[in-house]
């Protein structure tokens, strides 16, 4: 069939190429991801389920850890798509068209992965159904269950609806027709169908926005509804939503950069897209800092002793590296997205031998982190346990100077490569957001209200394996999806082109008419 009706449309060709061709790279990647995921399943089934949660690093009073961190993180990532694409649709941003599909797919897969972590975290997963048998609607966890399932259904629908015409296209173009035929729901692109579809999309995009906002608000309520120090905060709802959108955009940008490179979408994912999303990222970055600042200032100013224990735990205690690491990661957005455009000159000593300097600096940055990690318990388990004793002043100055120098030396490069710079920023944002979730969950639990000896939390290999499972699973689902469905919404982009053209036509007619009329 493919041969009988070869596509000549370049958009269609580009969009369908990944489905039609499978490289060895794909198989290799899929294999690696499946292997990682299987490793996670092994850790889950043969260690955690067999022995109980004792295989984790959790303890009393640190009852929640990496699993809940992952849960919050992935639910945050899920704001990538649906929310962003819905907002862009509602506001009629035409440039959105090529990126909506990716964004929505990320949402769906993050939502598949995230909530699983709650099951990982459960002591008795075999009794999971009790949540439906004996629900207690006073519990924020129940609110979570409701919101997330509604959001999940909503975002699948939201992903699926605009895909119907594309599936119909695939039905007509590809083998395995049965699969596509069922999914295409008999799409024949009649006007009535088109009209209905567009209406459904509009309704969905309006409906999904409050749902998405509610989801992360409710996730934050899980923490905020308790009276734990530094959890019990009214700001948590919007704070979590902002963080979620922030990391969601970052995840979307990462996906865009990679797909653009791998599937050769350069034609359709233009620097313009990156620039605009970059602005959005910057906005969220500012908002995120605003919230973080408010959060910490309020805590600090109040000086409530229980909260101050947590506060200092983050600022200068066991979790200082994670906290300041998070701040650094979040700042990277500024470094990479704002600084290059400011009229700053890179100082000569950093500029001249940039090619030499850059790797050295990069190594130095890593070394600084490692050196400090050696002194901090939490970081030791989170990073590598390399022994590199350094005098403290050297550590501190390295910590301060190296990243700045490093970034500075990169400025010229970033200025010339907006895509790379947004990619770098996004990577850091995703890491930073994971750290943020961790730093929200754990330090509070380490410092319960009633003093409790010395508490600490070191995630175990099982927890890391299941974290790897999450990431691998998410990427795997995304990659497989991209091999089955076009990642560029062909139909929507054509509609966009048509609309553009018709507008152009209309304009020209008007212009013509205007010119026809003699003065």
């Amino acid at each position: 069939m493919r041969s009988s009706t070869p596509s000549i449309d370049p958009l269609e060709a580009t969009a369908l190429r990944p489905i039609q061709q499978r490289s060895s790279g794909f198989y290799l990647l899929a294999f690696a991801l499946v292997a990682t995921a299987l490793w996670g399943v092994n850790a889950l089934v043969f260690h955690q389920w067999r022995n109980g949660l004792q295989v984790t690093g959790l303890n009393c009073p640190v009852f929640w850890g990496v699993y809940i961190t992952n849960f919050v993180f992935f639910v945050g990532i899920s704001h990538a798509g649906t929310l962003i694409s819905a907002i862009l649709r509602v506001t009629g941003q035409e440039w959105r068209r090529p990126i909506t599909r990716m964004a929505e797919a990320i949402t769906v897969f993050a939502l598949m992965v995230g909530p699983i972590n709650v099951i990982f975290d459960m002591g008795r997963p075999d009794r999971m159904l009790n949540i439906f048998k004996h629900p207690n609607f006073n519990s924020p966890l129940l609110w979570d269950v409701c919101c997330i399932s509604v959001y999940f259904v909503g975002s699948i629908t939201f992903l699926y609806l605009p895909m119907i015409p594309d599936i119909a296209l695939l039905r007509d173009r590809m083998p395995h027709r049965r699969f596509y035929r069922i999914l295409a729901l008999g799409w024949k692109a009649t006007d009535r169908q088109k009209h209905r579809l567009e209406k459904a999309i509009v309704v969905m995009s309006i409906a999904i926005i409050p749902i998405a906002v509610s989801v992360h608000t409710v996730v934050s309520y899980v923490f905020a509804m308790t009276i734990k120090p530094m959890w019990h905060s009214t700001i948590f709802g919007p704070y979590f939503v902002v963080g979620a959108i922030y990391s969601g955009i970052a995840a979307l940008l990462i996906a865009m950069v990679i797909l653009r490179k791998v599937y050769h979408f350069e034609e359709y994912l233009k620097p313009e897209h990156f620039r605009r999303l970059g602005f959005l990222l910057l906005t969220m970055c500012c908002l995120w800092f605003y919230f973080t600042f408010s959060e910490f200032l309020t805590t600090f100013y109040g000086q409530s002793p229980e909260e101050m224990k947590v506060f200092y735990g983050k600022m200068s205690g066991d979790y200082r590296l994670l906290f300041w690491g998070m701040v650094f990661c979040m700042w990277t957005t500024f470094f990479t997205l704002t600084l290059p455009w400011l009229p700053l000159r890179t100082p000569a000593p950093l500029r001249a031998p940039a090619r030499v300097l850059r790797p050295i600096l990069a190594i130095a940055v890593v070394a600084a982190f490692v050196a400090i990690s050696q002194r901090a318990g939490t970081m030791t388990t989170l990073a590598m346990d390399l022994r590199m004793p350094l005098p403290p002043f050297l550590e501190r100055s390295m910590m301060a100077i190296m990243p700045i120098a490093f970034v500075w030396s990169l400025l010229p490069y970033l200025r010339n490569n907006p895509i790379v710079s947004s990619f770098v920023a996004s990577i850091f944002v995703v890491i930073g957001m994971w750290l943020e979730r961790f730093v929200i969950v754990v330090p509070t639990l380490v410092n319960p209200r009633l003093s409790w000896g010395v508490a600490a939390y070191h995630p175990s290999w099982v927890e890391w394996s299941l974290t790897a499972f999450d990431f691998a699973g998410m990427v795997l689902l995304f990659v497989l999806f991209s091999k089955v469905f076009p990642m560029l919404p062909i139909w929507e982009m054509r509609e966009g082109e048509l609309a553009e053209r018709s507008r152009f036509e209309t304009q020209r007619v008007i212009m013509d008419r205007a010119s026809e009329v003699p003065a």
């Binding site: 067999r50 008795r124 075999d126 000896g453 010395v454």
Partner: protein
């Protein structure tokens, strides 16, 4: 659209799977046994669930507290305090409930075992009781034939009671002077001072009525004859008397549990408590605040004693030695003298300290008064008939003791810690058989390695231990005793206020293992030995003996049976002896009327010992071992025992929330100066060896000291003790008090470094 066969099958399959798989999952999960639902007690298909409560005696320390054991279908499932027993009054200390774990300890010795491999190698073979008893009897008979009965040494750690009486009687009837009582001095009464000054050991500190308690290093909340009584007294001192909250002052170099609960903690240089006491005495004398009536009429040696004290212990000198400011000494002296009744407590440390502290009680005239030091006659369950040792026994019994008690150590009745040296040196004669009962010298001794070396010189070691502790592991023959809840027991005791009670209990449960009560084994062995030895033990079983005692009590007419149910009153009618026996075994014994405080012998101030080595105090500082080791026993491990019971391991260190490992407490300043962070792993080293511990900063530690708990660091003793923590007693080079022969736990110097 037609429904094809394939589709039909698919739907059917899906529906089937949807129904069957959940059902199967449910049944698998429900049946997956230990995975999700623990099965319990299902071996007995039907529990009859007959619940009963029986009295028993707690033997986890030597307190002799009585328990009320809840027994269901023959299993002991709960423990609480005996409600009417005057010592316990329905309460327990943490060791009481933990005795259930001793009873059902998974690593008990099930039946007699004979060593087959090298000593200490752990190669054993099970033998029958007949074989074991015959073997012991033959061995002992053989020694008697060879005129060497004195080469048998009995090392026993039992509390006062008939079992101990029988062991002593056995030694006497068999012909050895060597019944050596193995004790644990930390937390013990200063009995050496009692004996030296008042000529009796039978004294008690009447805390229940005291208004001012000045303790020189005695962590009395955690020890005392019964920790239950100590706690109850504490409650009384605090809130028990309306409008009169007693004052508690604790003088010690490590802030103990008691120190933490005291009104005031006075840190004092280790081992200088006696000097401080004399400094206090000096002030009392100088300010004329002592009880002149008492000192003049009922004491001897006061004049000389007071002259020396006045001369040698002015507060400024004492301040220098003890590190306690003069003002504090003066204030404490005034408080002590003006608040009556006041008590000065010390534990069984160096003889000098014991005497110095106990003298304060006499100085304040608190002897024989409520709230002071009372005569406390421990009752006897019964009087055993006298016996006639044969010539062999008489000759053997006349030989000098192997531990040097009474000879080397003039004031000591027992000096177990001298045994290793004497065994090694075969002085005054080699020991052929060592019988170990109720003690674990290979663990609970200073530098226990000495014991191992010394025991190599003993050809035969018999142990009664129900657990494979260090000493049992080093024995040749183990004849395992019952645990307390399985035994017939008697527990004569006297309360701090002088109430006298004889506890008596029948076995609460059927023995878990094929063990036998040590007393029964002893009776069997003596019957096999026959002759005059057998004749000294006319009882078939231990319970026959107990019944005989009950008969005596019944005949005396003074005994009032205890009742396990507080609501029940013992009937006033005269009971027949059979009924009396029924009632006392079901109720837990009988009380005896309190003895009036009899006129005691004159208090002797022992001025011969008051001249102290005040100048010697700083002599033995070695720079290579700059710190001082301060050992203590947490309540959970009192008598250095209890680490084999997991519940006790979990509560070992209440102050620092430490458990299941050995910690070393440092003053933060000391720790910093040694570069030790809170939580670091450190080595604590002395010339005798080194042990590993977790360093903990503790504000209640004096600078220059390392505090370590005794009780952990077993090399044997079941799964929960073996290999857990480390034993700081290994650091103590043997230092025995020259008069009492008791170990000096607190003088060891050590150094500390990070692992």
């Amino acid at each position: 659209m037609e429904l094809t066969r394939r589709q039909l099958l698919a739907i059917g399959g899906a529906a089937g799977a949807g129904v069957v798989i959940p059902a199967w999952l449910r049944s698998t999960i429900a049946n997956s046994g230990p995975e999700f639902f623990p099965a319990r007690n299902e071996s007995l298909a039907y529990r009859k669930n007959l619940e009963s409560f029986v009295p028993s005696v707690c033997q986890e320390c030597t307190g002799g507290c009585m328990l009320k054991v809840r027994v269901i279908d023959g299993d002991a499932v709960g423990v609480s305090g005996h409600p009417t027993h005057p010592v316990t009054r329905g309460a327990v200390c943490p060791k009481g409930p933990a005795s259930l774990q001793a009873l059902y300890h998974p690593d008990r010795i099930p039946q007699p075992m004979l060593r087959v491999g090298q000593r200490g190698e752990g190669q054993w073979k099970f033998i029958t009781w007949d074989e074991a008893i015959k073997k012991v009897a033959h061995q002992l008979q053989d020694l008697r034939h060879r005129e060497k009965p004195h080469t048998v040494t009995v090392l026993d750690g039992s509390r006062a009671g008939l079992t101990r009486t029988l062991l002593e009687r056995f030694a006497a009837a068999y012909g050895t002077p060597n019944y050596v009582h193995f004790n644990w001095t930390m937390g013990e009464y200063p009995v050496d001072a009692f004996r030296a000054m008042q000529d009796t050991e039978e004294l008690a500190y009447d805390l229940t009525n005291a208004r001012y308690v000045l303790s020189f290093g005695m962590d009395w909340l955690q020890c005392f004859p019964s920790p239950i009584e100590a706690s109850r007294s504490y409650g009384l001192i605090r809130q028990g008397r309306e409008g009169q909250r007693g004052r508690i002052v604790q003088i010690e170099s490590r802030l103990s549990l008691t120190g933490g609960k005291a009104d005031e903690w006075i840190p004092v240089n280790p081992e200088t408590e006696g000097l401080l006491a004399l400094g206090v005495a000096h002030v009392i004398l100088k300010e004329n605040r002592f009880d002149r009536g008492f000192t003049s009429s009922r004491t001897t040696g006061f004049d000389e004693w007071s002259r020396i004290v006045a001369q040698e212990y002015p507060p400024d000198r004492v301040e220098k030695a003890t590190g306690v400011p003069q003002e504090t000494i003066i204030r404490v002296a005034r408080e002590f003298a003006s608040n009556r009744p006041a008590l000065a407590l010390s534990e069984r440390v160096s003889f000098f300290n014991q005497l110095a502290v106990h003298a304060l009680n006499a100085l304040a005239g608190n002897i024989g008064l409520p709230g002071g030091v009372l005569a406390a006659n421990t009752p006897e369950a019964g009087t055993l008939p006298s016996f006639d040792p044969d010539p062999v026994a008489r000759r053997g019994g006349g030989r000098p003791r192997v531990d040097g008690a009474g000879t080397t150590f003039t004031l000591a009745s027992d000096a177990p810690q001298q045994l290793p040296e004497n065994l090694l040196a075969k002085k005054p004669y080699p020991v052929n058989t060592l019988v170990v009962s109720n003690c674990n010298p290979l663990f609970a001794s200073p530098n226990p390695k000495r014991w191992k070396d010394a025991l190599a010189e003993v050809p035969s070691i018999v142990s009664f231990s129900p657990f494979m502790d260090e000493t049992a592991a080093y024995a040749d023959l183990i004849v395992p005793d019952h645990t307390p809840l399985e035994s017939w027991q008697d527990a004569p005791s006297v309360t701090l206020g002088g109430e006298r009670v004889v506890g008596m209990a029948k076995p609460a449960v059927i023995p878990v293992c094929r063990t036998r009560q040590a007393a029964d084994v002893l009776l069997k062995v003596s019957h096999l030995l026959g002759g005059s030895v057998g004749a000294a033990f006319p009882w078939a079983n231990f319970d026959t003996l107990l019944k005989e005692c009950a008969q005596q009590a019944h005949a005396s007419g003074h005994a009032k049976p205890l009742m396990l149910d507080p609501a029940e009153e013992p009937s006033d009618e005269a009971l027949s002896i059979e009924d009396f026996w029924e009632v006392v075994t079901a109720g837990g014994g009988w009380t005896l009327p309190a003895e009036p405080q009899r006129q005691q012998t004159r208090f002797n101030f022992r001025p011969d010992f008051v001249r102290s080595p005040i100048a010697n105090q700083k002599a033995n500082i070695a720079d290579s071992f700059p710190l001082r080791l301060c050992l203590f026993t947490p309540l959970a491990f009192s008598h250095a025992d209890g680490a084999h019971l997991p519940y006790l391991n979990s509560i070992a260190g209440p102050q620092l929330d430490e458990r299941w490992e050995t910690w070393a407490g440092f003053n933060p300043e000391t720790a910093r100066s040694h570069g030790i962070a809170n939580g670091d792993e450190v080595w604590v080293e002395s010339p005798a060896g080194r042990v590993r511990a977790k360093a903990r900063w503790y504000q209640g530690a004096m600078p220059g000291l390392v505090n370590m708990p005794c009780g952990l660091g077993h090399a044997a003793h079941g799964r929960w003790a073996k290999g857990v923590g480390s034993n700081p007693m290994e650091l103590v080079e043997k230092l025995l008090d020259p008069v009492t022969g008791q170990p000096d736990w607190q003088s060891q110097r050590v150094r500390v470094y990070r692992v």
